[in-house]
Amino acid sequence: MIRTLQPIYYSLQRIKAIMFKELRQLARDRPTFGMIVMIPLIQLLLFGYAINTNVRHLPVALMDNSHSEIARTLIADLTATQVVDFISEVYTATQATEALTRGKVRAALIIPNDIAQRLNDDRPLAQWIVDGSDTMVSNAILNLKNMPLSTLNNRAFSSAIISTKATFEMTLFYNPERRSEINIVPGLVGIILTMTMILFTSAALVRERERGNLELLITTPVKPMELMIGKIVPYVFVGLVQMTIVLGLGHLIFDVPINGRIDQIFLAALMFICASLTLGMLISTVAKTQLQAMQLTVFLLIPSILLSGFMFPYEGMPILAQWIAEALPATHFIRIIRGIVLRAATLSDLWPDLLWLATFTLLGLLVAAKRFKKRLD
C-alpha cells in the first residue's frame, strides 16, 4: 500500500517545492508584486466609464396571455425593428424571470389578456421586463418604449387615434438606475484576470528558460506536469486576491451590488483562473523570450477585451466575432460572473460556461505538458 503511494508522495513533494519556490520569488520581485495590486486598482478606476453602441437582435422571451390578433401584430412590429428576437415562449412570470436569471434572454415581453381594452383606453399595451445589468442592452430595449403603432392603427383595430402615450411599460431588473459601472466592474474581473494570469505564467516559465534554471531542472527527476502544476498553483491565489480587490472596491466605490453567493463567485473565478493560467502555460511553451511571451499575451488580451462582452454586448457582434468570443475563456467567465453578481444566478444556471472553462483547462494542461518536453532538441 505504502509502496504504491510513494511515487505520488514524491510527485507531490516536488510540486510543493516548486510552488513555494515560486511564491518566494514572487514576494522578492517587488515590481511584479506591486502589479498584483495596482493593475486591478488602476483599471477599476479607469474603466468606471463605458462606451455605448447600438445593439440588435437581443434574445428575448415572450409571454402572450391574450393570444389575440393585436398581440401577433405587435410582435411582428417588434421583430421588424430588429432590436429583439423572440427566441422562447414562457407561460408564467416565474418562467420569465428564470430565463432572465439564467442569461438565456435579455428581456421578456409580457402581453396581458386585456390588450384590446388597453388599446382602446390608450394605455400601455404590454410590459417589458428587462435585464438592466448591461446598460447598452437595456438602453436598446428601453428605446422601444414609445414604438409607434402604425400597423395597428392602419388596420384599425380600434377607433383610437395615434397614441402619444407609451406603447410599453418598462420594468428594469438588476440595475434599475442604469449605471454602467454595475456591468463594467464584474466584467473587469474577467479582463484583469486574463491580463495578469496569462502574463505571469507565460513569463514565469520563459524566465526560467532565459535565466538557465530550466536547463538544471530538466536534469532532475521533476516531471513536466509537476513543473506546470507547481508553477500554476501560486498564481491561483494571486488571481483570487485580485478578484477580491476588484469586486470589493467595486462594491465600496461604485456601489456594485453582490447579489449572488460569494462561494460560487470564488468557485467560478477559480475555474477561470485555471483556464487563464493554462493559456499562459501554453504561451510559455511557444515563446522563447519574455518579450515574446508579452506580445503573445497582448495578442490574446485584445480580443478578450473587445469580444468577450466586456466592452460590447455579445449580441451586437457579427457571427465571426461571436465564434472567436466563444473560444475565449474570458467570454464564458464574464457571462458567469455577471450572472452571479448581478442577477443572483447560480452555477447550476450557468453550467455550460463552467463546463467549457473546465474542458479548456484540462485540454490546455495536456497540450502544454506535452509540448514542454524534458529535452533540449
Binding site: 520569488q25 538544471l216 521533476v222
Partner: protein, 311 residues
Amino acid sequence: MENAIAIATEGLTHKFGEFIAVDHLNLSIPEKTIYGFLGPNGSGKSTSMRLITGLLTPTEGTIRVLGMDIPAQSEALRLHIGYMTQKFSLYEDLSVIENLRFIAQIYNLDKHRSKQRIAEQLHAYGLDIYSAHLAGNLSGGQRQRLALACATIHKPELLILDEPTSAVDPENRRDFWEKLFDLCDSGTTILVSTHYMDEAERCHGIAILENGIKRADGSPEQLMKDLGAQVVEIDGENLRQLKQQLIAHSHIISAAQQGTHLRVLIDEKITQPQVWLQQEFPEIMHGRELTLVRPSLEDVFVHCTGEGRKK
C-alpha cells in the same frame, strides 16, 4: 584501470540540421575517475554531455550510462546523476539555503536527511556564513561552490560538470578541484569539460575534442609521452619573425611564443632536434639558446588539433 565502465558510447553522432556537432564519438569512461573533455568552444563538449545525460537524442550511436540505456532510461538516470550547467542555473533570487532546500526537495530527500545533507554541504563548501545570502549576490567562486553543493546534495554516482570553472579565479579553481578530488575519492565518477590545460592535466583521463571529433584520448601522462613530436624552446630577439620562418618548414609542426621564448614542436623523426635546427637555419639560430623540454598537455593539444594536425 580495472574499474567498471560508467559511461560507454559507440558511434555517438548528433547533427543539428546539416551541422555535425558530435561525430562518431567512442568513449569508455571508468567508474570513480575524473574524465575530462578538452577542446575549444564549439568542439562538441556540451553537446556530448547533453547526449550522455539524455537531454538530447542522438542522431546515431548508442549510449550506456551507469548500466542504463540512454536516452530510453534517462528518467531513471536522473536520480543517479548531478549536473552542473555552464551558466549558473540556480535561482538568483533565492538564498543559498533556499536553493539547497529546493533541490533537496526536488530529489525527494526526506526532512531529516535533507536537513543533515544541507548542513553537510554548507559546511563542506564553506557556505555556512552565506546561507542567508541571495545566490545572485555571491561571487563567482561562491556561486560555483553552491552549484556543486546543489548538484551533489543527493550523492550522485555520476557528476557531470560543463565548464564549471570558466568564470572563476585561479585560487577558487584550485579549491574547486580539491572538492572534485574529494568527491572522486568517495566514489563519484566525474565527467568535466574544460578549455584550461592545467585543469585537463588534473584529470585521470581526457578526450581531446575538435569539431565534434575525438582527436586523442588517454591519461594526460600517456598523451604527453605519445606526443610524436619533440619540443624545443628557443630564446632571443625577434621571436615573431623567427616563428614565421620556422613554421614554413614541413618538419616543424608548430611554433608558439611564450613570454621570452618560442616553443617549437618538431617531428619526432628528427633525432637531434637542436642540432637539426642549427643546421637547417644556421643564420637565424646563431647566438640563440636551444633547450629540449618535456612536452606539456598544451603541446599535445596543439599537435592534434587545428593547424598542427594537418602536417
